[in-house]
């Protein structure tokens, strides 16, 4: 599909006056054949690595499929009913949405702030840029393990440090309360990803032509006016990209919670993907219900992202 799109856009963009319809068709057929040939590797890739697994999950979701004994025959729609009836289903949906909103607001806000800061500063530009970007070089699982040790009440250095500063009285249990666990994880995610979104937004900022700013200055626009009327609208495509990446990534959050909290304390930090994992491998061992949950999540993601793309579309496109 992705190969076909450029081809058709080239055809329209070329803009040569169409000769007669008949003369166009002949080379067209030839083009179409080679077009399919070009598309074949991608199509095969998509078929084997995407369509077939989705069909398998679809089949699982409609079958009684325990982890240890395999397919036991059709079980539709019981899996979906069991998935929604799971005692953590709604809790996990609510928690995932809460986490997504917090993470997205913080990451995009901080990423934009950092990008503007790095853009404006002259002396420390490369140092700042590197310092913020370095955590992105660490895998999310490794970063989570690092923070697990840092937060640990037994070996972690943060709690004694805060005590010595006199900020807190006793040992702090970062992951011990539901709110503590959520914010400790959010802090990790912000630390890990802020640099990445800064980079994406910096590219967007650099794409804004200098002349526009010059014109704004000549019109006597204030700093705030320049930001809200020039920078933000012209940054819209980059912001849309970042939001979609961030929302999708946060809705599918797993590694950080799996390592830091395992859904605890008291089942307060179970994300939807963690619920899928738990149902599949941690006790219930039911791949059918886990697949049904996956299908529900897939459907929700498709809807959410269509809505996002519609909402983010530039005004003139509407």
């Amino acid at each position: 599909m992705s190969v076909q799109l450029p081809l058709s856009s080239v055809a329209t963009a070329a803009g040569t006056p169409p000769p007669s319809a008949r003369r166009r068709r002949r080379p067209g057929r030839h083009h179409a054949l080679s077009g399919w040939a070009y598309a074949a590797p991608t199509a095969l890739f998509v078929l084997v690595l995407f369509v077939l697994p989705v069909l398998l999950v679809g089949q699982m979701s409609a079958s009684d499929w325990p982890l240890l004994s395999g397919n036991q025959g059709v079980n539709f729609p019981d899996n979906f009913r069991d998935a929604v009836d799971n005692r953590f289903f709604w809790d996990s949906v609510v928690f995932t949405i809460k986490y997504t909103v917090i993470a997205t607001v913080l990451l995009i806000g901080l990423g934009l702030g950092l990008a503007l800061l790095v853009q404006e500063s002259t002396h420390w530009k490369s140092f700042l840029r590197t310092a913020v970007l370095v955590p992105s070089a660490l895998g999310l699982a490794s970063a989570s393990l690092l923070f697990y040790a840092l937060y640990s009440p037994q070996v972690g250095p943060i709690s004694p440090f805060l005590e010595r500063l006199g900020i807190v009285d006793g040992p702090v249990s970062f992951l011990g309360s539901p709110d503590g666990a959520l914010w400790s994880t959010v802090f990790l995610v912000v630390w890990r990803f802020a640099g990445f979104y800064m980079l994406l937004l910096m590219v967007g900022l650099q794409g804004i032509p200098h002349e526009v700013y010059e014109a704004a200055r000549m019109d006597g626009a204030s700093r705030w006016q320049t930001f809200s009327r020039v920078t933000l609208p012209l940054l819209r495509p980059s912001l849309a990209l970042c939001t979609i990446l961030c929302v999708t990534g946060s809705l599918l959050a797993f590694d950080q919670f799996y390592i830091l909290t395992k859904g605890g304390p008291d089942n307060s930090t179970i994300t939807v993907v963690q619920l899928i994992y738990n149902v599949a491998f941690q006790g219930q061992n039911d791949l059918g219900v886990a697949a049904a949950l996956s299908i529900i999540v897939l459907g929700a993601l498709v809807l959410i992202n269509i809505a996002q793309i519609r909402g983010m579309r530039a005004p003139e496109e509407k």
Binding site: M1, P66, L68, F281, S294, I309, E317
Partner: protein, 439 residues
């Protein structure tokens, strides 16, 4: 414009689908293809000879990380003395069920694999092991093999599993800290109430030393360390079928009360509440904890750093018991070398392996006729562990993992409400456990 709009929308849907796939991958990697009856050609019960076959075959074997030390000792000793060679893979504890599940679905199980004894009833029923009843009955000492493990691996009168390593829980205490606290270092707690008093006494020492410690966010640890206190009072934790939870009995409530009292008076180590099981044995080993129920397999390791005293885990008002845990091992349904695999299993049960390998390292033996061995005689603590293990219990339930060990299990909810909260919801939480057990 319309054209452009449509393609961007299609693109968006396509990319969304690709992203969505990440979730699906998770569920999909668990199993593929048919339900795997390929390898089950049932060689097990009709072994050619009591010793199996030792012809230089390579046997694959999986076990989980907590029993790494014992597994390595056994495999090294076997490989050194036999033609057959065992190729051992150690899997992290948390990933073990997922790995076995994925392999079972794709007929890729190793020849031999060990399983946490509490999961064995379920896995046997799912047909992951071959029937080895005939082989086991052929052993002269069959009636001395640990009965708890054999029962867990018995389904419809056929036996599938032998004890691999017994891991029993015992009350460990730090003799040096007991002396500092003015307690008798040769006298551990004989009742659960005494355990509470002694823990508080040690906690008085201060300076980074705590009275006791437990895995407050680890269902498996709590099963292993707290169930024996209920058994010590001759009560049970479940009905015989493993379908009804009895964890709201008066005895059980007494047990929770002792621990709640320790939590309320801050005699437990920092991080007890959050401990998910990854580091629950560490503080005692560092000499920072006075007394706690502990895995007996770690006696030799703990001995390296501290002077350890050992007593059975007491119940409210006295008594003593233990959780006979650890791993059972069997020949997998996918193995085509069941005679060779049996050769390893029968050697593992032999006096040579039990005494000269396991007992020599301070481990519990799986045969009651070997408890009085030369190594145990040298250390009265090991002798006590062996004696207690013979009296201990192994709980059997099909849905054990979901009810007790899983990170979001109702048992964990019960304990946390009973010990860290006001403890008013024990009866309701107990019914949640029964709801899972009876499924």
């Amino acid at each position: 414009m319309t054209h452009h709009r449509r393609t961007s929308a299609t693109k968006a849907v396509a990319s969304t689908l690709v992203i969505g796939l990440t979730t699906l991958g998770l569920a999909a990697c668990g199993g593929s293809g048919d339900d795997g009856d390929g390898g089950d050609d049932g060689g097990g019960s009709t072994a050619s000879s009591p010793e199996g076959v030792d012809d230089g075959s390579t046997l694959t074997m999986w076990t989980r990380a907590p029993l790494e030390k014992q597994a390595n000792l056994l495999v090294d000793a076997y490989n050194a003395s036999h033609e057959n060679q065992v190729d051992l893979t150690i899997v992290p504890n948390d990933d073990y069920v997922a790995k076995v599940g994925a392999a079972a679905g794709s007929d890729g199980l190793p020849d031999l694999f060990a399983a946490d004894i509490v999961y064995v009833p379920n896995w046997v029923q799912q047909g992951l092991f071959q029937d080895i009843t005939g082989n086991i009955d052929g052993l002269d000492y069959a009636d001395t093999i640990n009965q708890g493990h054999l029962d867990a691996g018995t389904y419809e009168d056929a036996e599938y599993v032998l004890p691999f390593v017994l891991d029993v829980s015992m009350m460990f205490y730090n003799k040096d800290l007991y002396e500092q606290a003015g307690l008798d270092p040769e006298q551990g707690p004989t009742t659960l109430e005494e355990f509470g008093e002694q823990a508080k006494a040690v906690d008085e020492i201060g300076g980074g030393v705590d009275g006791t410690f437990f895995g407050g966010n680890c269902g498996g640890c709590l099963v292993f360390t707290w169930f024996p206190s209920i058994w010590a009072a001759d009560e049970d934790v479940m009905n015989a079928e493993g379908t009804e939870s009895l964890l709201a009995s008066d005895t059980a409530k007494d047990v929770y009360a002792v621990y709640k009292d320790l939590v309320d008076s801050d005699a437990v180590g920092a991080g007890t509440r959050d401990e998910t099981g990854a580091t629950w044995v560490a503080p005692f080993q560092e000499g920072k904890v006075g007394v706690m129920p502990y895995p007996a397999t770690l006696l030799s390791t703990a001995d390296e750093t501290i002077d350890v005293g050992v007593v059975p885990i007491p119940g409210p008002g006295g008594g003593g018991s233990t959780f006979v845990g650890g791993d059972g091992i069997g020949v997998s349904k996918d193995s085509e070398q069941s005679d060779q695999a049996w050769n390893f299993l029968q050697w593992m049960m032999s006096e040579e392996a039990q005494v000269d390998v396991l007992a020599k390292d301070g481990n519990v033996v799986s045969r009651s006729d070997l408890t009085d061995n030369e190594y145990a005689a040298a250390d009265p603590r090991v002798q006590l562990i062996n004696e207690t293990a013979a009296e201990g219990r192994t709980p059997v339930a099909l849905n054990f993992q979901q009810a007790f060990n899983a990170p979001s299990s109702p048992w964990l909810t019960l304990v946390r409400n009973a010990v860290f909260e006001d403890g008013s919801s024990i009866d309701a939480d107990n019914e949640e456990i029964t709801a899972i057990l009876s499924q």
